[in-house]
Symmetry: none
């Protein structure tokens, strides 16, 4: 049809990304056709191929266009780190989890890129992008742990990287469980319990 303006074109692109995220997160990549994504976005099947080279390219674009709010809460807790590093870490993780759980787009992103991670194409760009994010996030946690060690909240011999990965895997574990129980009130409690407990576990390394 008529040649659209640059803004309209960008709107179409965004709509496609939005619908892809929604549908993929809900039904899984293999149960959603590009045709249906385009249809939901109000354009035809072929239009999708103007914006993206192919399906992998769409997913890669999706993957790059979305950020889970780790950075935001990391920055928020940076100033608190000097008083009590473990407390700050605790707050950082819980706030991040609760944000993800209560915002639709983050939830969908988690669903697609983490709960359904194995469904993703083996496309190098996608896998690398995800791996990079993982590194950034464990980096944040490591920053807290380092300070905690300085503050003698945790034992010296603690293997930081290992702990950091374990903490992060717990974050995703809690979110995964959350997908099966929709009531968000109860959820915050559960997240708190889990993370608190893990932090308490760290804190207790002192004594041992």
């Amino acid at each position: 049809m008529a040649r659209r303006t640059r803004e309209e074109s960008e709107k179409t692109r965004q709509a496609l990304l939005q619908m892809a995220l929604e549908q993929y997160a809900l039904h899984g990549i293999h149960n959603v056709s590009l045709k249906s994504i385009a249809a939901e976005a109000g354009v035809t099947h072929g239009a999708l191929y103007w914006h993206f080279e192919n399906r992998d390219d769409l997913i890669l674009a999706l993957c790059k266009s979305i950020t889970l709010p780790f950075e935001r809460y990391y920055l928020e807790q940076l100033q608190a780190i000097d008083q009590d590093a473990l407390k700050a870490l605790n707050a950082f993780l819980i706030e991040t989890i609760c944000h993800i759980a209560s915002h639709q787009q983050s939830r969908q992103a988690f669903s697609l890129f983490y709960a359904r991670r194995k469904e993703l194409p083996l496309h190098a760009g996608i896998q690398d992008t995800l791996a990079d994010e993982w590194d950034v996030w464990t980096g944040y946690i490591n920053r807290f742990l380092k300070q905690a060690r300085k503050q003698k909240q945790i034992a010296k011999k603690t293997k930081q990287q290992c702990i950091a990965e374990a903490m992060l895997s717990q974050v995703f574990g809690v979110l995964a469980v959350a997908e099966y129980m929709p009531e968000p009130v109860v959820f915050r409690e559960m997240a708190s319990t889990t993370i608190h407990n893990a932090i308490r576990g760290l804190d207790a390394t002192r004594c041992n």
Copy 2:
């Protein structure tokens, strides 16, 4: 040509299940055709339909034929429970995790039924079977927690079911992370660290 005796038939069935598990765990259900499963098992495509009604039925059979070794290590730690419930729980979880991580079939089962859980068909039988197992396993953990409460290792007000689910989700979280790092030596350490830490966290509830 037709397999003649009952044993040969059973062998075919087992081979089909085995290959299905292997391929599905590795590439995902949607990237493996029944034809290729049958071919790997050394029979034609149609033979599969003698043994299973359809793909869902194959997956259901798979799901029922496989057990992660929770029960085994639960029974093993039952006698230790009276001395130190938390220590027994610790051993129970770590042993189970390490067993799963180091035995191919269990690893594959975990991969398919937990890491790839969202890819599974929405078939009621399959989902119910998995839900039942989850209940049994949290049941085991609850048994340890109850005893720990009696032994005053953990606070009275502790929400047991909630903790049990959190523990279990950590088990799967650790295994999920393990899938991305194949060296089993490092792995045992990481599993220990994570679970130890969680248990220590529980233990520390006393003081609060």
Copy 3:
């Protein structure tokens, strides 16, 4: 299993034929598998191949084992033919129609071999058998018409064979319509009306 007696074997054969007729008449040949026929007959799929060479052979056997009751009512009306040939023809046709419509097996035979005739395999034996029966039945009608001509009930110039075929096609037309209206009471009336009317039409050829 154990070698059965000749009677038992014959029973199996009859059961297979019976079930094939039932299922085929109800759902059509292409919507019923040999496996399901065997299952309904209480034997396995393979047993069918002991009694019949293949599917066409089963259908041929079916076709030969079944007779619509034309001959019976033909013989019944033979003595009445000399008094009033058209009246006898009338009775012959109506009785036959009503018999078929009210006896399950005949109904099924009609359904399969006439209403679904085009679904039958192009197997020569089957088509010939059906063609032979058609000839016999028009032969019966012709016998009545010949006598009617002698009795001057119908015009001399009447093309007998042509009329005979038309009468027979009406018989099947009425039965076909009957398949869409299950109440047998109303049906007899409709059959009477149609056939009566046709006979009256013949009778009226005198006047023209």
Copy 4:
């Protein structure tokens, strides 16, 4: 390669419908694959799925795209109805039959939708469409019968609807028989004989 313009696309669609009708009428729905229909129409298998959702949808489209010429001859005889209703009815039916029998497309339509009616899918849309046509056609016949009653050609007590259905079933009966004898010359005579006879039968009700 893709057909470009709207007209070319419409041509493809028509070709598909045409081939489907031809093949289905000749060999039956269950003996013709969508692949072969597409091949005969000069496109690939998948193109068919652009134009029709699935096989049932194709058959529905076929069913709706085709009209047996009842209406045409009904309108043609409407003016003659006031002189002699039964004569007009006679002409209406014979002309319609002969038209169907001598035009390939109508013959095929009859073959598929009436002689092979039981093979059709149980799809509601298809069955309803056919039922509606049946009602329209008996409606036409009823119109003639009503006038015939007024003109005292047939007895008052005559059950019109019942007669109308019987007449129509005779039309289809004659056409069915015609399928087994391809020479069209002989056929017109047979059709005339049958319908004439039926009309004469009606006419004779006066006397009774």
